[in-house]
Amino acid sequence: MPTPVLICDDSGFARRQMARSIPDGWDVDISFAEHGQQAIELIRQGKADVMFLDLNMPVMDGYKTMEVIQEQDLPTMVIVVSGDVQPEAYAKMMALGALAFIAKPIDNQKICDILNQYGLYCGAATSQERTEAVGAVAQGNEPDQLDAYREMANIAMGRAGEQLAKLMGEFINLPIPNVNLITNNEIHMAIEDVKRNAAVSAVSQGFIGSGIYGEALVLFNDSNLTNIGKLLKYNHFSNNEAFELEALMDISNILIGACLNALSEQLHITFSHNHPIILGRHCDIDQLLDTKMVRWDKILAIEIAYSIKSQDIHFDLLLLFPGNAMDIMFKKLVKTST
């Protein structure tokens, strides 16, 4: 009898990628859920002896799902598959009874190792047939493309979040990345989480590799800077100005560096980054973005709104790719996951 397996992830791209990675030799019956609520329903129907569970999802996230499973003692073995790889996320899920924790991006070998370890499957790792059965990861129409970028951003965001958590010694709340195709340079439309009326400061850095190029922006609400300074434990700054600059640069270095590292891993590209510049300080967000921009017909804008709830700190990472860079990137994403 085949083992009922459930894949729960809000990203279609990620669900397909997961399904393709399951080894051919494992006799399974795969179901899919887009969020925790659907998953709980399917577990109750007996469709999930094993569940691969994502953490950041709308409606019901992975933590809540795990709590429900524990409370109601639902019959499923949970393997967490997450972009958020902070030690706290790991500890929390393991404490709630997860069997194992796999960091995205997923691949066939990682799954096999885990299955092997828990005696769920011991055969060959190959997943050739499964890959063919699931079909192309994405067709290249717009929603599919955006979904692929979102998943890519999700993993990059998680990596950057983990490194930032290490630096600051605080748990970083990770959102679902906001991915948009924008035209006519209305970048400010892509930014949801920056308070419109607050003064902001921004650092910008360009990157390029294998025909893919873009710009990373880190946006800070000026009111947050004092709290950030407390976390970074700066003690050798006599004046505010110098201290703020240092905080801006430290956070941007980590965020952009880690994010680009994760992107290059997924795309198999080594990026060159140029020196960051201070795009603006203590200014209005619309003013910051409007005055200096070159017009593009189409830009892929990925907004990641990081926050540290306990300290009331928020900052935004914005990854921007112009049209032609975006198309090359999509081809790479589809190819590397085949």
Partner: protein, 316 residues
Amino acid sequence: MQGMKDIAEMHWKHDLLGSIEVGIVVLNRDYEVQVWNLFMENHSNIIPSKIRNKSLFEFFPEIDCQWFKAKSEPVFSLKSPVFVIWEQRPFLFRFGANRPITSGSEFMFQNITIFPLASLTGRVEQVCIVVYDVTVQALNIKAVAALNSQLLEISRVDGLTGLFNHRYWEEQFCQEFKRNLRTKTQSSLIILDIDNLKKINDTYGYPAGDEVIRTLAEIVKKTTRETDLCGRYYDEKLTILLPDTGAESVQYLADRICRLVEKRLVQYQQHGIAYTVSLGVAQFDNIFSDHSHWLERAENALCKAKEAERNQVVIA
């Protein structure tokens, strides 16, 4: 043969590292120098054999050791490059500017990149510091910023008196009016006018009149507080806006200006010119529909002062 080829390759690579116009330094986990290229050698006057395997901090006391370690730690532990820009710290190494005579700076502004060098084990055992000379760029940016603040100053200040010009003063006055509406605070406005300036101009010439206006502006500047906004409203008419100050407190100041002016002769060539001023004062009132209404009330008070033999203060 292969050996010769290898040596030849090493040779030109060494040349490459040497002639490139950026500083390249490789450090190990203990911040000891492993590589020191020609750029670094020439600018620091320290030869590689002298600094190799020695702590960087020994040779460069200007580097804040604690700060630098904090910066490089993520490079070792997170394998992520770190960028330091000259706005943060003008330089890491205190080198002289590239063009000692005409560069306009005593030292070299530097952008710094610190990036990880992977070892065979995959762990980061060494990092590379790249030092870019950005003196020209930095000086240009600074010059533009200085110019901008100068332009801002020029666009706000009246040349003769050094007080705010009409346009900027009125802008600020408008803001203050709105703030008063919002917060129910009570600010006051003074309009000063030089009595019979036309007579002074006719007798001694316009430059003498200008000197009188300038002297009055000086008195106004000396008697008002830093938070008061003084402007040259029209020719011989000055304005003072006093935030959060009621008319009674203003009376004292206005009277004082009146007395000081009366006492002080303006020295122009061999002449000592005596003059007086009239002042109209108006406090903010909730019934004002806009800021010009407020101005009007002060103007009316000024007219009354003029009608009543001048050289006095009238409060609306």
